[in-house]
Point group: D2
Chain length 342, copies 4
């Protein structure tokens, strides 16, 4: 018997990436995919690389049938996702929401960072932040997964052992780099190929939307109000993300390394490296590669992580949550996603 | 029971690509991988993206044991491959040779294009040119597969229906573009990143080594001496290849299209397109995407194909041959290689 | 005393490139620049790299004053350019039109390839095709320059010695590659960075608009109806263009080379190479680098040229025409455009 | 009368960049260029983009004549530069050394970071650190310029107003990104095009050689021992560098901005931006673009600078120093280096 799955907003990059991964499940039936832009078109017409796959003739609908599936992946803008998730949960469906609509527990942050009031605070409380390495137990029984943002995923995995051990002193400084697919499929002048070619720059240098999401999780884990000084940068590639995290700590190099190797020793998707991780080693996969060191000169920890922003930073993490909830082995399919090299 | 496989020259790009694909076979045991450069090192030390995979602890040896395996994939330079293939065949092994050592039936071409005398002309005669869409039947019982070059694969698949129908008049003009992985993993000044970045140019404009390979196959298929005017160009990407083929023909547009759609209607890895194919739709896969049109103004056929030079142009094609010989379904594993997009 | 110059459509890539070049003239005063999109904005606001230059405070107007300048460069779409050029010429101004509105002498081609009727056939007759290496004498006294397209520039310069000597037999096959800036600054899904990154493909494989332009010039030079089988390809870089030209000829290798070296021996912007030219050697400059060879096997000439599509393929060629008309040395400023390497 | 200039190590990227810039001086005669690798070859043979320029026939010698020139630019490895600079200074020549041999005042740092003992500590004391925005007065009369490293240039210009005002509290965290030309022209596996394509990663995360250079200058300016927590990252482009600097400060946003705008108001090569700077706006030029803000949430200053690592980070800065010493206007030639866009 197969699990019925629908995807809302399936024509964006995270939707397509979900389809790429779900192709590998013989136990999953894709019931519907939605896209307003491509309503009525077949998947293979819009994305010809699906020709020859079992999904090729799936047709985009404008709105999903809310009864037809067991699981719904939402790859929508934040506000439509807020509504649709509510309706589906009321309808007793399982929802994995890739938007930010249910990620931050403190509803007061939404008007500030996302320009809308959060109307469903009860549901917000029940939503589980879908970072399995931190919240695995809660995920198992969750109905609504708030699938983490890409920067928070890379950054929180770099921080988690330090946070749970409460070894962070002062603020955390995070500099991150992201491939341009992270900005979505919508057209923008700065991402027109000739202009982005050979270019790089910081953006949202003071108030990126992922800051409250990171600080909210940090607070949940530590109970402390630790601030994140965060700057993201554009990397002129399609996929890949690096998060470079530093903070003061009194742990020695050996203690710090032990903490990370110990915390993550059984995590199937965390790989610890003695050299800074490369995005090319993770693109296409669900891995998060992490380097951890202590800079004795400045008494600071230096932790650098790399993920694929569309995979562990979005869609393969969504599938990892799906595996946990649906009762598959957590690594099912995901461990076999091959990394195309070079 | 598993099939025992060894790979010679496994640290080059085609060797690594073979490993990536063979990871998906539960029926295959990799017995040995060789590399002079990395002798004694584990696969995961040299290529960290294999960490966490079942191959991670494979160790490179300097020379393969010639008795330990059923199948040998040779990813060596042409002359060492010439010798090793001979020894393995004499030892009753199955060999899939990714070098050019056994590709051209006419031994007189080797001194001209490859600067060595071909010593094993008997074996050369028995070797089967491993382009399944053309030589599937012979491949089934072959002991030695001469796995085709990347440009010949893309070009011959663009030409095959026309060749077998003998509709080509005069010479064939082929312009092709290749990602830089086609030049191998060895360091060269022109492929140092800052110099290749933003660059493109034709190379070997008169006498590329793949010309005799293409003309040899053309002669086998047509019985005619048709010449190929061939220029390859450097494309500043890692993977991907386009072959643009034109020749005079009296077929109409409709006849030409019918010919291609008919010839390839059951081919699982040929996809015919109404628009010129894009390398991004094939990278990582075994597909060859083909566009076919007639330019009535010049009375010329215009056929454009796209492949991944390391996949259908080398390693996944080698595995396609392996599937045929070893008795797997021809599409086994290969149909499930996902295309990472964007 | 300075020459007064205005630029229509100055916010596109060719307009900006003109400004970059004209910055180097102390004898030129930019009177006006137009752009509907950026009306009222200063150049430095839209293109911050102009900050600190003498043009930084130029403000975009929506329409140019038709009396204020001596020279007008038109970087507009074809139809607005058709009209504006007519008005300016009637007003006794010098016009260098970078659109295709006046390039093809045969007006019947416009409805077919450009979807408009050419209303000003008298003016079309008087317009001079601004390829100085071919039409230098006529350019000197021209009022209206039809500045050539990028593919025609690269291709006709590769062909010119052969055309004027009438050595071409049969059709000409042209395969060309262009950086994406050639498609302009307007947003398109296929040029969104994540999608164009690592991608390449042929486009307009049968009927690109530059075909009639090339064939028109070929006819003017040879008096013959020679057809061009032309396929352009997308190159995933910002700037640079290669044209690979082949045709049958009975000239020997030596005769062919002599013809080219002799024809171009005094041309300041043509550089003949013994190896295929690289786009990186011409980007930012007005050079056209050319390689010429005879493939004795196929009795075909192989001629490969490289230009910067926005420079010699558009704006620096426009300035070359300007130099000739305005009485500057033809190489003035243009010889000093530096090539940034690597 | 012309100034005689020679360049040692002229075949590396910084040497070629010097030649590109010096082409624009009618007052400069290039007497000799050296390169062991290319001894006896003409510049145009090795770097064909110089064909047609007045430098095209310059021939590489293996060693420079130490008497023939007034100025020597040294683009050598650190140790040969150490020696040659000493000899030339003893010979009363003006030397601009692009290596690190004379950059750090404290000789004890050389064995630690550069693995050699500094033998010429007297000369080290006299050498002037060639960052004109900080040391303009000393540069005027310097005989030996220690031309700054690329990361120190970008970082110190981002810091200078804060340092001279002593507003920095605690350590400084610097994350920087550099195009691969910064690693030089020598071949390395990780910079082979297929491997660097689409890749990015941090490197030297604890002890990059530019750390002591930055801290030495910080100490000279502030008198304080402020530590720099520095991580550089590989950016998969040829040229361009970003430095992202953060530190605690009690200045308000307004005070901080005023400080920068005031300090730099007359600097011809510093451009202050209200948005984070883009490398594409500075590549090919001598500009350093800077963004300055206060993050009130963390009480930290956020300052981001962008330069061309080969220009302001090396060769155009060397020419800026040359202009100052030789008595040219400081902006001579350098203000006219055009930025090729897009």
């Amino acid at each position: 018997m197969s699990i019925k799955v629908s995807i809302a907003g399936a024509s964006g990059y995270t939707g397509v990436e979900l389809l790429r991964i779900l192709l590998n499940y013989k136990e999953v039936e894709i019931v519907q995919i939605s896209s307003r832009q491509y309503e009525g078109k077949a998947l293979k017409e819009v994305f010809p690389f699906f020709i020859g796959s079992k999904f090729e003739n799936l047709k985009f609908v404008s709105e999903l049938d809310q009864n037809s599936s067991d699981f719904y992946f939402l790859c929508l803008p934040h506000e439509p996702s807020l509504e649709l998730a509510k309706q589906l949960i009321d309808n007793n469906k399982k929802v994995i929401d890739l938007s930010a609509a249910y990620r931050i527990k403190d509803p007061s942050q939404y008007p500030i960072f996302y320009k809308f009031e959060h109307k469903y605070t009860n549901l917000l409380e029940k939503a589980v932040y879908g970072l399995p390495e931190i919240h695995r137990e809660k995920i198992k029984n969750a109905n609504l997964i708030a699938n983490p943002g890409c920067y928070p995923t890379a950054t929180l995995l770099a921080l988690y052992p330090s946070l749970k051990s409460k070894i962070v002193k002062g603020n955390i400084v995070v500099n991150a780099l992201s491939g341009i697919s992270g900005a979505g499929r919508g057209l923008k002048q700065q991402f027109h190929y000739p202009e982005a070619f050979g270019n790089s720059y910081a953006y949202s240098p003071l108030n990126h939307r992922h800051i409250p999401e990171m600080e909210d999780q940090i607070k949940q884990i530590t109970g402390q109000e630790i601030k994140v000084r965060f700057t993201p940068h554009i990397l002129p590639v399609s996929r890949g993300m690096i998060s470079n995290v530093s903070f003061e700590t009194d742990l020695t190099k050996e203690e710090l390394k032990s903490l990370y190797y110990e915390t993550y020793k059984n995590e199937p998707f965390i790989r610890l490296f003695e050299n800074p991780p490369q995005i090319k080693n993770v693109v296409g996969s669900n891995y998060c590669d992490i380097f951890v060191e202590k800079d004795e000169r400045t008494n600071m920890a230096v932790i650098i992580s790399a993920i694929d922003n569309l995979a562990k930073g979005a869609s393969s993490q969504a599938v990892q949550n799906f595996n946990i909830i649906a009762g598959f082995k957590e690594t099912y399919v995901l461990k076999d996603l091959s990394i195309v090299y070079p």
